[in-house]
Symmetry: C2
Subunit: 214 residues, 2 copies
């Protein structure tokens, strides 16, 4: 009987390995988004799934690996949202900006901030971070190149523009955890402003496109 009278023997269900693994990953990603990467613990994940902690260890022998993969999964899912647009390059870029600045992206911004800090002490997260950044740059560069080709974006340094836009995104994202995020036009439209400046488009062009898509 051991030390504890186990309360109720739950019906234990056995799932297909891939399915269970994906389930664990999704749960870990959800915890990361809601509470932060540090809160991904064997018990936290196990509790959400009504499962024993040991089972998580079974699929992820090293807890760190689960954290890294959960971040990658969340970032990948978010990227699919950010770049799921069609239309002209201006419209696609505007849609990207709308979604980046949308309130629903706040959780994701928190997660990025989280990962950026954590990569200080956990090299594996740093690698995953760099990989995700690279993928994001590829997506945005694709839009920018299309705009340069179509003549919408006069810039002569498309990659530099891409880099600048992401710095703007990350800069604004820095304040996502501020309690009293004070409202100021310079904050709210910084990404749009930076994009116009970096791409060399006439001021107001992107603002219009962004407003139209909001």
């Amino acid at each position: 009987m051991g030390a504890t009278m186990s309360t109720v023997t739950v019906t234990r269900t056995r799932k297909r390995p891939e399915e269970r693994r994906a389930e664990i990953l999704d749960t870990a990603a959800a915890i990361a988004l809601e509470q932060g990467l540090e809160r991904i613990t064997l018990r936290a994940v196990a509790d959400r799934l009504n499962v024993a902690p040991g089972l998580i260890s079974h699929y992820f022998p090293v807890a760190d690996d689960l954290v890294v993969e959960a971040f990658a999964a969340a970032a990948t899912a978010e990227r699919a949202q950010l770049f799921a647009a069609s239309g002209t390059p201006v419209q696609r870029l505007a849609q990207f900006i709308v979604r980046v600045e949308d309130a629903r992206s706040r959780d994701m911004a928190r997660l990025w901030l989280n990962a950026r800090h954590l990569s200080r002490i956990r090299p594996a997260i740093g690698e995953a971070l760099a990989a995700q950044e690279e993928l994001d740059r590829l997506q945005l560069s694709e839009i920018i190149d299309a705009g340069v080709a179509s003549g919408d974006f006069p810039t002569r340094e498309p990659f530099a523009a891409c880099v600048r836009i992401f710095i703007a995104v990350d800069g604004v994202g820095s304040y996502v955890n501020d309690t009293a995020s004070f409202e100021h036009a310079a904050y709210e439209h910084f990404v749009t402003d930076t994009a116009e400046w970096a791409l060399g488009v006439a001021p107001g062009t992107l603002h219009e496109a962004v407003s139209a898509r909001q």
Copy 2:
């Protein structure tokens, strides 16, 4: 003799309360800069000072308070460095940018990133963060206002320019923990570029001033 044979009885020295308190704060700030705010523990600080953990508790009954005050102390010290310049507004701003982008500021950038993330779960850090940001804005605004008055900065929105410059600083600072911080001109000069754009000065003006002060 109890459970442990104490190795060597160190001569215990008694310092003036203010002195001891400052010493603890400095040590905590040093730990924060080198290893992060999470590593400020009673034992970590105590060990550095060759003192018992209980003593730290004596001066900071709540460990959180020590963390918050250590961050504020580090930020205050850094601000003194960043804005310790004389000359024309352009020169002072250039000096600020040089120091922000200097390699020696990397530790401090890590600390800011650290605090920004931590404020997600620790409101007290968020408050300290907001307070330090406010002080930084005051300092930079003072320079900008002087530049506007002297006619060096044509901008009609000095405060917006200040906000934009700090977003640029924080955006670049986001990557401070990247393992392979890839070198790119758009990265390295982003703050200078943004400042020129936000202040409405002719492109190249600030770059020259920055180069001259490096």
